[in-house]
């Protein structure tokens, strides 16, 4: 210490001399002593400072006093911790954002109105961009890959229509005018980046059940709100991956359908397309979205699924009411409820492919019901190929009224999924002879018949484009000596034609006995059909 006193002496030196002199003067060498609180040595009680260490003897801060004051820090700390526990960041309005907020952490709340998932350089690095709308404006929110993975783990992956509460760093230069849902609003020229999963809260809205037919036929302004959460049940039809990476499939109920989109971000982040839903009845939970493609004059409602995890297969809990084919065949429209689930059993007799899908007829004696496999059921054709005419099948499906006139129409069944057809047996061929059949043909109509050792009585020959003779139509009688009636045998498919057949050949024939009309007259025949167990055998040699 270089401080000088008025007399020119260094203060420390002066102090030491003074302390020593005073202590001598006051007889400190033999006078009252006290222990210096600083150095612990004995010093004169008369002196204000210790004669050894020069420390002040009085007006000292006690350690206990300091601790008592320090206790205030506990109070201060507790107040701050309490604030930390209860503090909620203020929610800003998007329309109020300005460049002043740039590089600050801000909190926004709003509904997700758009989602984009970005891959960068085809690496596994990705980020999610969601656009939120808080009633005052639109703002982009970015979620980086690491945070996104945490959101997936915590089940907080956002979907269209969800309400989100985000807290992140804002970068932007203000807002500009735009429109949303046809209304004037603002859009932030910038974005908020969320970098912690804890700073991204999601509030899922309740799903409301909607009938698929209602959604399918609704116009934009009709009954439905865009971005409202919906739960819709239907049959999963064909699907495909879109160029955007989203998946699209059609959800059917009867002949009505809506398109369902599964956003790419959910597919990539939560496990991809699930094959097991194909051809199944499912419940899809998602968000209604009005889709207006530029190439169509009108739009339609689509359901944007909240990821594959919100598609549930429901096949175990449906109940079907058994109904006879005859009853259905003769029923009027008012006799049944469209969309009700029915179960029928009959023999598969007839197949046809039409532009809308595939049709098969299921018979029960002379009565029949058409079963319609819509074209979206991709596997149906293959499955039907595995069926053989004459197979007895059980079919579960939904009743659909197929009207073809003011007051005309018929009930058909649309199977509920590919496993809705169950093979339960084969129709038997009954031993008959020609005269028995033609004596009372109506009694045997649509019966599977087995004609043993019938003789070819006449043959209609035709010639194809290459000049080869063939027949698909000939007559048989019961025996070579008999003069009884002849029965028409008709091979009803091209590949079954015969090129070698002679009169008086003895054959065994299995086929379907039925009538046909020609120029107003009713005739009877045995039809040899493809995809069946029908056959023509010649002395053990099989023609077909």
């Amino acid at each position: 210490m270089d401080r000088k006193r008025k007399d020119g002496q260094d203060e420390e030196t002066a102090f030491d001399k003074e302390a020593g002199w005073q202590s001598f003067k006051k007889g400190s060498l033999g006078g009252r002593k006290r222990t210096c609180p600083a150095c612990g040595r004995e010093t004169s009680q008369e002196l204000n400072k210790c004669e050894h260490c020069t420390s002040h003897q009085e007006k000292r801060w006690s350690v206990k006093g300091i601790i008592a004051i320090g206790l205030a820090m506990l109070l201060v700390g507790s107040v701050f911790l309490s604030l930390g526990a209860v503090h909620e960041e203020p929610v800003l309005k998007i329309e109020d954002l300005s460049p002043d907020h740039s590089f600050r952490n801000i909190r926004l709340e709003g509904d997700v109105v758009d989602i984009n998932y970005w891959d960068i350089d085809y690496s596994d690095y990705g980020r999610l961009e969601i656009t939120i709308y808080d009633g005052t404006g639109l703002c982009s929110v970015y979620v980086q890959k690491e945070t996104l993975e945490e959101l997936v783990e915590e089940g907080k992956l956002p979907y269209l229509g969800d309400s989100v509460d985000v807290h992140g760093r804002f970068t932007g230069s203000g807002v500009e005018s735009t429109t949303h849902d046809g209304e004037e609003t603002v859009r932030v020229d910038g974005s908020v980046t969320v970098s912690e999963a804890d700073l991204f809260d999601i509030k899922r809205k309740e799903y409301e059940s909607f009938d698929l037919n209602l959604v399918s036929g609704a116009g934009r302004e009709e009954r439905l709100d865009e971005h409202s959460k919906a739960r819709i049940r239907g049959y999963v039809g064909e699907h495909r991956e879109l160029s955007s990476g989203d998946y699209l499939f059609y959800l059917y109920r009867g002949t009505e359908h809506i398109s369902v989109t599964i956003p790419r971000h959910s597919l990539e982040l939560t496990g991809g397309w699930r094959e097991d839903i194909r051809g199944e009845i499912v419940t899809v939970r998602g968000t209604l979205n009005w889709y207006e493609p530029y190439w169509e004059s009108e739009g339609s409602w689509e359901l944007v699924a909240d990821g594959m995890e919100n598609i549930d297969i429901i096949d175990a809990h449906l109940t079907y009411e058994r109904v006879s084919i005859d009853e259905l065949d003769h029923a009027e429209k008012e006799d049944f409820n469209e969309g009700s689930r029915k179960q029928i059993t009959g023999s598969y007799e007839w197949y046809n492919s039409v532009s809308a899908g595939q049709l098969i007829d299921i018979h029960e004696g002379p009565s029949s019901v058409t079963v319609f496999f819509p074209w979206y059921a991709e596997k149906t054709h293959e499955d039907l190929d595995e069926l053989t005419k004459g197979d007895i099948v059980e079919i579960k499906g939904t009743l659909d009224w197929y009207g073809y006139g003011e007051d005309r129409g018929e009930w058909q069944i649309i199977p509920d999924g590919l496993d809705s057809i169950t093979l339960i047996g084969e129709k038997e061929y009954n031993e008959k002879d020609v005269s028995m059949l033609l004596d009372d043909p109506e009694a045997y109509e649509y019966e599977y018949v087995n004609l043993e050792n019938v003789v070819v009585s006449s043959i209609n020959w035709y010639r194809d484009d290459e000049g080869e003779f063939y027949t698909r139509n000939f007559f048989v009688k019961d025996g070579i000596e008999e003069n009884g009636p002849s029965l028409n045998i008709y091979i009803n498919y091209w590949e079954g034609r015969l090129t070698e057949l002679y009169e008086n050949d003895t054959l065994t024939i299995r086929g379907l006995f039925k009538s046909y009309t020609y120029r107003g007259e009713t005739y009877w025949e045995v039809v040899i059909r493809d995809h069946s167990r029908d056959e023509i055998m010649y002395q053990e040699e099989v023609y077909l």
Partner: protein, 442 residues
């Protein structure tokens, strides 16, 4: 943020304070070395342990260390870059049997620093953001000014003893020239070790440890060994010789200096305290020790705290950089949490310091000074070797030889801080590549 989370964070932070107590008694072991190792361990485990828990533990360690690292400076004469100025007055206290009182003075400063951080810093949040934007482009010349101040504020010694003007001039410069030499040689030394990969890459974050130990700690130990300083019996006092006005002045200067150090890169707590001491015309020895206590608390903890201040998020200090490796604070709740933890841990560290000081007294009283100094020297070597390998030892010895220059020529040891100031000033000025080229480092 739930109450459970807050209480868990507090518990973990207190655990950090408790761990810091024994660590603070190990000479040359800097808290940043411990934090660096912790982060290395934590990063692969980050998927399992929430970042806030890790941060809280680090804050506990930091607050504890900032309060208790006075112990090694006072009792073992092994300062770091922030306690270098305490050693001289503390040794005076120590030789008077008042080491404990010196520790308490520094601790009072630490408490004032904690109060400043927890209560006053939040009030200046808005100002700091503006200040950062204003000062960011000017850091180069601000650091240059600080350097000039450090060099010019060294007062010539012995200049009045010469017979002639020339002799007096020569005697005056006999301490100044070594001081300036020390600054620049330390500066080049710092520049070289920062620019080159002397320390193995996987220990790169510990580069400055051996340099600081060599520059600041080892020369003190060697001086003690040569001078055969005797440490008298220490008195554990239950009161402190300080008055309100001195405490206020010292505390204010320390907090201001600590804030300067936290805010400006390369300015450490000691330097900041010194600058602020000059600025506030501080002359009292007690105030000085107290201000250094406050300064290092505000410097260490404040630098990390700046990262959590809403609207500022300034990455300063090693801990701030380490935290920023795995976490970016975003919410005001986090700020409140950290502020609360600093306040509570600060007080707990103060109580612990009183206990640890008594323990340190037992060590210095029971172990002869020479043996103690040799022991400390061995510990320093072991730590540097373990943390930075043999290359670190080489750096430490070079640092020691530089650090001995001011000791031998009676110039200011503060000039050793050129090790930080000079390279950073050069880099901020955009001349790093040029100088590296001259040294063949590019």
């Amino acid at each position: 943020m739930t109450v459970t989370l807050v209480l868990t964070c507090l518990f973990i932070a207190i655990l950090g304070v408790l761990v810091s107590a024994p660590l603070s008694l190990v000479p040359a072991l800097h808290v940043y070395n411990v934090i660096g190792l912790l982060v290395l361990i934590y990063l692969p485990l980050s998927a399992f342990l929430g970042p806030m828990f890790m941060i809280m533990f680090m804050f506990g360690l930091l607050v504890g260390y900032a309060m208790m690292n006075t112990l090694t400076s006072v009792y073992f004469s092994t300062p770091d870059d922030s306690t270098i100025f305490i050693v001289l007055p503390a040794q005076k206290y120590l030789t008077q049997g008042r080491g404990h009182e010196a520790v308490l003075l520094s601790a009072i400063g630490g408490l004032i620093g904690v109060f400043f951080l927890a209560v006053l810093v939040p009030l200046t949040m808005g100002v700091m953001g503006t200040l950062r934007e204003l000062l960011a482009p000017h850091l180069f010349w601000i650091l240059a000014l600080i350097t000039v101040f450090i060099l010019m504020s060294e007062w010539p010694k012995d200049f009045s003893r010469g017979q002639s003007k020339l002799e007096r001039l020569a005697k005056g410069w006999s301490t100044l020239i070594p001081g300036i030499f020390t600054f620049f040689i330390a500066g080049f030394f710092g520049f070289i070790i920062m620019r080159s990969q002397v320390i193995p890459a996987h220990r790169g974050f510990q580069t400055l440890l051996p340099a600081f130990v060599g520059l600041f700690a080892v020369p003190w130990i060697l001086t003690n060994l040569v001078s055969e300083m005797d440490i008298p019996e220490q008195h554990v006092t239950d009161s402190v010789d300080i008055e309100g006005k001195n405490a206020a002045r010292g505390g204010a200067a320390g907090c201001l200096g600590g804030l300067l150090a936290a805010f400006f890169p390369a300015v450490t707590g000691g330097t900041g305290g010194l600058l602020a001491g000059h600025a506030t015309a501080q002359r009292d020895e007690r105030s000085f020790i107290l201000s250094q206590g406050a300064s290092k608390m505000v410097y260490y903890v404040g630098a990390a705290f700046l990262l959590f201040i809403p609207g500022l998020h300034l990455t300063r200090g090693t801990m701030g950089i380490m935290v920023n490796l795995f976490y970016t604070p975003q919410t005001t709740s986090e700020f409140f949490l950290v502020a609360g933890v600093i306040a509570i841990c600060g007080f707990i560290a103060f109580l612990l310091l009183i206990v640890m000081s008594k323990f340190a007294i037992k060590i210095v009283e029971n172990i002869p000074v020479t043996k103690l100094n040799i022991g400390v020297l061995i510990i320093i070597h072991v730590i540097v070797l373990v943390v930075t390998s043999w290359q670190g030892l080489m750096i430490m010895w070079i640092g020691t030889s530089i650090g001995l220059v001011p000791v031998m020529f009676h110039s200011r040891r503060l000039n050793c801080l050129g090790v930080l100031l000079f390279p950073l000033m050069i880099e901020l000025g955009g001349h790093g590549a040029f100088l590296a080229g001259l040294f063949g480092l590019s």
